[in-house]
């Protein structure tokens, strides 16, 4: 099997990393959206108790959709780890997820992504990319 000069190992590694990024980004955005709706868990727990606070989270549909995407990310991670080093898979998927999440947070979560956060995202993405070399 040879595609664009990549061997079977490369194809499985990078396809799994792509699936980790997609699963993590969609999962992150959906869980963040669910938790925005629910509010600060610490305050909620103090107000209504742990069980009722947990119930609020567990009955939120967007939370479970987020978990489903996180599960896709998890199984892709297991497959990626069966082909490549942790010190490649984690930084590579992490740096790509940083960039996709910064855009997704602005578009879907309407977060204020100020200069400080863009700098942080660029620094971390660049650093994480160097970790994958």
């Amino acid at each position: 099997m040879n595609l664009l000069g990549m061997d079977k190992r490369d194809i499985y590694t990078w396809a799994s990393i792509a699936m980790i990024v997609i699963g993590s980004t969609a999962g992150d955005v959906l869980i963040a959206r669910a938790m925005q709706h629910i509010g600060d868990m610490g305050e909620l727990r103090r107000r209504v108790g742990f069980v009722a606070a947990a119930q609020r989270v567990l009955t939120e549909p967007r939370f479970w959709m987020g978990i489903a995407f996180m599960a896709i990310g998890y199984f892709s991670l297991v497959i990626a780890f069966s082909w490549a080093d942790a010190s490649l898979v984690i930084p590579a998927s992490g740096s790509l997820t940083f960039v996709t999440n910064a855009f997704a947070a602005r578009i879907f979560l309407h977060e204020r992504v100020d200069k400080r956060r863009w700098f942080a995202a660029v620094f971390v993405a660049a650093g994480v990319a160097l970790l994958s070399i």
Binding site: Y12, D28, V29, I31, A32, M35, Q36, I38, G39, D40, M41, G42, L44, V57, F63, M70, Y74, F75, L77, V78, I79, F81, S82, W83, D85, A86, S87, V89, I90, P91, G94, T97, F98, N101, A102, A104, A105, R106, L109, H110, E111, R112, V113, D114, R116, R117, F119, A120, A121, V122, F123, V124, A126, G127, V128, A129, L130, L131, S132, I133
Partner: protein, 137 residues
């Protein structure tokens, strides 16, 4: 930011990094997973390392979910990115992987990125979200 919130961010870093490394340690025993033997990705959970790693990743998810209830995603991600520094360090200690000069430079950049967000605001207010959604900002 209060001590409980810093503790949550710390737990996310530790659980995430340790969970990833233990998962990788387990997959070293199990061989490669292809389209032909994909059910192995599910049965891998019966490997003790993978099971322990998965438990830690569930702990990571609990902390992560809690953090997203009081902070923005674009704050939580960089604030917990020290995990990317810890994974290579644990990879040396537990998995015997090699970490060269370029990776150390990467570690320095990640740490700098964490410093950028650490002192800033952690949450976008509802009013600001509304303005951003309406394209007024």
């Amino acid at each position: 930011m209060n001590p409980r919130k810093y503790l949550t961010l710390g737990a996310i870093v530790i659980f995430g990094a340790l969970g990833d490394v233990l998962l990788k340690r387990g997959m070293q025993d199990l061989g490669t997973i292809t389209l032909q033997n994909w059910p192995r990705a599910i049965t891998a959970i019966f490997n003790p390392w993978v099971a322990l790693g998965t438990l830690l990743l569930i702990g990571f998810l609990a902390g992560y979910t809690s953090a997203l209830s009081w902070a923005d995603l674009t704050f939580v991600l960089p604030a917990t990115s020290l995990g990317y520094v810890i994974v290579p360090l644990l990879s040396i200690a537990i998995l015997g992987e090699h970490v060269g000069l370029t990776r150390w430079l990467g570690i320095l950049l990640v740490t700098g990125g964490v410093g950028f967000v650490a002192g800033g605001p952690s949450y976008t207010s509802k009013r600001d979200r509304q303005l951003i959604a309406e394209g007024k900002e």
